[in-house]
Structure formats: structure tokens, C-alpha cells
Symmetry: none
Subunit: 193 residues, 4 copies
């Protein structure tokens, strides 16, 4: 599949020849289905985006889940998808770089990015409503979530090993819960455990 090639070699580094070989056709035949290499790339992107967002939507659209459960479910789903098809996360990470190197790829990427932010916002909304998140720390939390998800994505791509990824995810959750690093009381914080 073209996704694997794009993830491995990037947009510029993936040649039509490779794409065609993977598909068992000639380079000319590509243009029967797509108008350009860019078109192939964007089609792959949109398919990837769709696959991932569908799974995420199943989590966030479940009104019965608490904040805690939602976070757990999203991370769980991420890990699952990673195990099922390693190219999904690899491609998206790769694409986040390629999109910023080619102006014509950027809009599609930003659209995807925007949708992802939507999930995080819904997540935070749930937390605020539930009372476990202070309203004034929304922006900070959004920042932190972005940092954590970016970090997890890149780390897992580098590791290339679902088991290690799962372990790292667990460790990160522990860190987020203040169970890993020493924590000083930052004002009105009650001691947890």
C-alpha cells in the first residue's frame, strides 16, 4: 500500500515507481485514478484521517463515558490501531513533517489537525463538566494534551514496537497522574495518596 511507502520515505522520497510496484501496475496507470502524485498522497491522507477519526468518534460520541474513561478509551484505541496497522501512526507522523515542507499539502493536514483538536476539546469539556478539571486551566490542559499525544506518537513511531508503545503509554499516564515525578504542592492541591 502507498501509505507504507509514504510513511517510510516521505512525500518527496516516495517515487511513482515504488507506488506502482506496490500496487502491481505501471506508473502510467496511477494517472488513471489520480491526477498527480500529490493527489495520491492526499487520498492516502484522507483515508488515514477517516480511519482514525472514525475510531476516535466512537469514543467521544459515547455520552455515558466519564472523563477518566474517555482518556483511557482514547489511549486504548490508539494503542489498538497501532497494533492492527502500524502504518497509520507512522504515516500521520511522517505527514506532519511533509505537510509543512510542501504548501499544497498543508491545508489537508491542518484540517485533520483541527479535527483532532475537536476531540481534545470534547475531552476537556467532559472533564470540566464532571468537575475534575478547573475551568481556568483549559488552555494549559490543551497544551499539555497536545504535548503528550505528540510525544507518544513520535516515541511509538521511533520504537516501532506495539508492546513498548503500550508500556510507554502507561508510564506517561502515570506521569500525568503525578505518580512518577516528585510533586510539590502548587498552592491549593490536596495530597493524593
Amino acid at each position: 500500500m502507498a501509505r507504507r511507502e509514504f510513511a517510510r520515505s516521505g512525500y518527496v522520497g516516495t517515487t511513482n515507481r515504488r507506488i506502482a510496484e506496490q500496487a502491481g501496475i505501471t506508473t502510467g496507470a496511477i494517472y488513471h485514478y489520480f491526477t498527480s502524485k500529490r493527489d495520491v498522497y492526499l487520498a492516502v491522507f484522507e483515508e488515514t484521517d477517516r480511519i482514525i477519526l472514525t475510531r476516535y468518534q466512537e469514543v467521544t460520541s459515547d455520552a455515558l463515558l466519564s472523563f477518566e474513561e474517555m482518556v483511557a478509551q482514547l489511549l486504548e484505541v490508539s494503542s489498538q490501531m497501532n497494533s492492527e496497522d502500524e502504518t497509520l501512526a507512522a504515516f500521520l507522523a511522517s505527514a506532519s513533517v511533509d505537510a509543512h515542507r510542501d504548501p499544497e499539502l498543508l491545508p489537508t493536514y491542518l484540517e485533520h489537525d483541527h479535527k483532532m483538536m475537536g476531540f481534545f476539546s470534547q475531552l476537556i469539556d467532559a472533564g470540566v463538566e464532571e468537575g475534575v478539571i478547573h475551568d481556568e486551566s483549559r488552555a494549559d490542559i490543551l497544551d499539555a494534551i497536545r504535548v503528550l499525544t505528540l510525544g507518544l506518537t513520535w516515541y511509538s513511531v521511533r520504537l516501532g514496537d506495539p508492546v513498548a508503545h503500550r508500556r510507554a503509554t502507561a508510564a506517561t499516564i502515570q506521569a500525568m497522574r503525578g505518580n512518577l515525578f516528585p510533586s510539590r504542592p502548587a498552592g491549593r492541591r490536596r495530597a493524593t495518596r
Copy 2:
């Protein structure tokens, strides 16, 4: 400087012509100083590596710093470098992708990666010695640190704004200290709904 070009356009996307233009010479002259474009890239990489690691070393080699102070200092130094020269982090992030796309670039990148791990290990050693970190959670902490630093790097590169980066860094530290997300002893969850 070539670093800016490589950071912006990647290894494949940066042409010798651009490198030469930025340096105020001709493409032919490049080959008086380097044996190939790859050689230029690796030279840029090694210089970047040296600049960053020198600054980090100044922090970790100060035996008087506590774990807490060391973490703070490292993050502070990262932010400072980011403000002084935005191309450093941008190039390294870019390089982490390009290195994995071209086998001949990988060894140099892995070497750099290894050195970075050394700093984190030293950091953890200090924490264990100080008693603020449990010895058995070393691996988890190393994972978490990698996730957090990767996340911060990519987030800052995307933001492209030192002020926003600093804010995100602060938010991440808060998260790490357990001050942001709700933390509950694992297992003893109240029933939701």
C-alpha cells in the same frame, strides 16, 4: 545558513543551489569543503549536536544541582536556545525524520540520540540518589521523559513561537507534577453513572 534550509525543506528537498546561495558561494565551491551533499548535512548535524550538548553538559555537570533544579535548568536552557536560534530545535526535529528515511544518515542521528539518553540517565541518577525517585521506576521515568521531550520539541516546532513554547513547557511541568489532570489511586474509581 544551511541548517535553516535543511530544517525547512528536509534533506531531499534542500538543493545544493540553495545551500550555495545561502552561503554566498557557487554549487561547485561546496565540493571544496565537503565531499557530498550528505557530508554537508552531517556537518550541520554534528555542529547542531555539539551546540546543544555543550549547553546541556553545563547543566548536568554541575554536581551541586538537585534533581528538581536540574530538570528546571534543562528546560530553561532548552527554551533559551530556542529563543536564541530557532533553527536548532527545528533542524533536530526535521533530522529525526530525515535520518530514518536515509540509512546513511541514521548512524549519526542515533549517536546523537544516545548522547541525549545519557543526560536523561544522569538526571534520573540524581533523582534516585536524592530519594525523590523510586529505583524501580527508572525505566518508566525514562520513557515518560522521552515522551515529554519529544512532545515539547514537536509542539514548539509547530508553534514556531518562543513565548507559546514557554507557556506549553510550564503547562507540561504542571502536568508532570500531577497539578493539572485529576489523579486518583489506580483501581479505586467511583462508579460513573
Copy 3:
């Protein structure tokens, strides 16, 4: 119709896809009716040739017309055809170029050219018989007619406007009659300043 496409974009520049689209079929279907794109082109050419020559024949085969009337009729018929279907002249002009660029198109074009010369010869014959044309100026007249018809064709194609074409035709007739440019016996020029 394919004629419009060939006239507009030329032989090389017109793709089978466009031909098929214009005809409301697929590219593959073209090969049920023609053996090649060249075959399509030549069929268009021959149809165009037939349409035009039929109209011309109606003029020159009318034995009752005087030289003057024949010239007027031919020009009139040219203008009429131009108004009825602008693609006829446009295609022939276009073809006169394309035929000379592709050796396999040339014979068909030359054949058409030869037929056109036949009409001009008949015209001159009528003029000589009528006594309004000197027998020894036959060659010169043939040259002049060719120049004038070529000029009118190309000018009208460029103008793309039947009304302007008609005006230019009238002006050219005036010029041919010596009513436009100053004419003086050759040799006996007055000294100019």
C-alpha cells in the same frame, strides 16, 4: 466535433480523450471507427475538403457566369461558409500548418491544395476567354490569387469575426481593382524631395 478541436489545438495538441468527449464516446470506441488518431484527422480533413469543394464547384461549373461574377461568387461563397461554420476555414488554415509538420498528413493536404488550384485555373481560363485577362499574365495572376486567398483566409481566422472578414474582403477587392493604392506607370516616377 473533432474539427473544432483540431482547428483550435492542432494535430499534436488534440488528444483522443478530447475527441472522444466531444463525440460523447470513450477513447476506446474511437478505434472501432478509425484505425488511429491520424485516421480521424484525415477523415475530418476529407470531409472538410468535400464540403468546401462542393460549394466552389457549384460556382465554377456554372458556365453562364462571367469572370467578374465568378470571382464575386467565390468570395461570396467563402464568406457565407465562414458565417455558417467558422470551423471550416479555421481547420483548413490549421491543417495547412500541421500537414507540413507531419509527413503522413502532407499528401492529403497537397491533394486538396491541387484541387483548389484547379478552381483558380478555371477562373483564369474564364478571364482569358472573356478577354479581360492577358494570356501572358496567367502565372502572375495565379500567384496573386494565391497570395490574396491565403491572406484572406489567415486574416479572417485571426479576426474570428464574419463581419470584419467581409469588410476585409471588400477592401481586398478594392485593392485588387486598383482603387485603393496609388498606381503609376512603372518607371515614370516623379522625384520625391
Copy 4:
């Protein structure tokens, strides 16, 4: 020279390979001097335009010439250039078609066309001032001149023979003077010869 190739095979039909072969270099080297094939074409066009217009300017800028002499000189110069370098007229005729087939070539062609019109206008001005041309027939004369020059150009290109071209030019001049075709008095015209 590239002009010969473009004249013979047209803009689309002339390949970089042919251009390079003619120049004794490889296709890649073309791009050391030009940014695209189109750029090569336009450079050829502009050079051709310059050569021809320089020669024409020498005629029309000579204030001592009468209308009659100017016309004779322009035709003479045209014939001379045609003998010296047959590719000049051949290319311009070819270009008049190619320019209308490719929107990006058109502006340069129209600019050239506009300059040529300038010469004709100057010519007519001289005739009006001299009293040999009626002021109210300016438009008709411009039309007729355009038709005649277009016709001569295309006829000479088809003939491909400077001697025949010269003969055709002479015949056309005779026709213009009313010496060839039978002319009926069109109103106030005095009998000439």
C-alpha cells in the same frame, strides 16, 4: 539553431532532445540557460522579432522616403531577409499558429503583431501626407495591407524558394496597382495607363 526546429515542427512538436542535439549539448544543459522549453521558444521569438523589426525600422525611420519608395523598400527588405535566412519568416508564420494554441505564448506574439501594425500605420501616414491616399480609406488600406503581407508570408513559406517568392511579390504589387485584374471605374477614379 532552435529557430529552424521550431519553424519546422512547431512548439509542441519540437522536443528538448532535438533542441539539445542541434546545440551540441544534452537536454539538461538547456536548463542552465533557460527556465523551460517555453522560455527557449520565447527567446527565439524575441530574437527573431528584433532582427526583423530592426531592418524594418531602418526603412520607416528614413524620413526622406516617399510612400511609394517606402512600400518598395519594405518589400525589398522582406525579400532580402528571406534570402539571407529562410528561417525568419518560416518561424514567424509557424509562431502565429502556435501562439494561438498556447495561451502562454500569445502575449509575446501579440506584442510583435502590434509592432508590425505600427509600421503599417507609419506607412499609411506617409501616404496620406503625400496625398496619394485618401484619409477616409485608412482602415480599408490597413486591412488590405494585412491581407497582402499575411498572404505573401504564407505563400513564400509554402514555396520555400526565394526566387519564386520574389516573383510572387512582384505579381502582388502589380495586382495592387490595378495592372493585373480588370478594374471597373469605382466612382471618381481616373484612368491610369
